[in-house]
Symmetry: C2
Subunit: 179 residues, 2 copies
């Protein structure tokens, strides 16, 4: 199973591709960050994120995309941007018929560290260990994207297969009506 994890953000959108199955060692296929300039207009930033995500989808052909579920508990302005960046990532994947899963930050932390309240350093350390990297990926958004992908591979494999089957059947359904 090949999963693209996306840690959405307007300024830094973390992206990471992980391959593997639950219960076996995982492999990092790629990691990076889609950046947009903070002083650019919102529309141009969203177009740049779309182009960046499309490149990652073209290059790595993931079977699933895992995106962080956005909550409105932080800074209002940041959250709006995060929601908008996540919309672009979800849109790009769905247009291609790739199933999208949303995971909360605490689900991701719990999956890779065992604690839903782990800090960034702990998540980075576990991502490094689980993917057998020589150093934690930088910036933290990139590590978080890999953690999202790992979380997705480890959570409910049966549910993933079902979701993939449904997505394949409804990829070309009109007007967004789905099963």
């Amino acid at each position: 199973m090949r999963v693209l994890g996306v840690d959405p953000g307007l300024t830094r959108c973390g992206v990471g591709v992980v391959e593997g199955v639950a219960g076996r060692p995982l492999t990092m296929v790629g990691v990076g960050v889609v950046r947009t300039p903070a002083d650019a207009e919102l529309g141009h930033r969203l177009v740049a994120i779309e182009q960046g995500i499309e490149q990652w989808l073209d290059e790595h052909r993931p079977e699933f995309v895992a995106v962080e579920r956005v909550f409105s508990q932080h800074n209002v302005r940041t959250v709006m941007g995060t929601a908008q960046a996540s919309a672009v990532a979800i849109l790009c994947a769905t247009r291609r018929g790739i199933p999208v899963a949303l995971h909360t930050p605490s689900e991701v932390k719990a999956a890779v560290t065992g604690s839903g309240r782990a800090d960034k350093a702990q998540v980075g350390a576990m991502v490094t260990r689980l993917l057998r990297l020589s150093a934690p990926p930088r910036p933290a958004d990139a590590a978080d994207a890999l953690a999202l992908a790992i979380c997705h591979i480890w959570r409910a494999p049966a549910q993933n297969r079902l979701q993939q089957a449904v997505a394949l059947h409804t990829a070309n359904a009109p007007k967004g009506r789905t099963a």
Copy 2:
């Protein structure tokens, strides 16, 4: 000047096209609502909104798109969806090089009724009068979209021309960097 107003929402995305210039009677070119089923997956809803907005842009070729600026002051779940729907509308316009303006709800209300705290009925009544319609557009999201377009035509015409010139020059700029 032809403006597409968009009142963003996942369930009902109001759209309205108004033509005219400040100081002269305005004309409604079209009005409607892009709807997506509440029980569909988020990705499919965003794709349906993209298709709907694209149809409106194809059919009416607006020179500007005016989108309601989203605030996080209401229900958290609704605001996330509104931010995501607005991202899709902004993305569609910017990809075509159409300048996008964001107006707050109070700016729009003040523009069409004279009060930033006007209620829905008052906005609907003024939209009906200003566009010489026989009845207020339904649902309220459609009327709000027309009000956004009117607000845009009336606010800072000089600024609009500048923004349009900049957008034309940067429409094909790489990586979303803008002037």
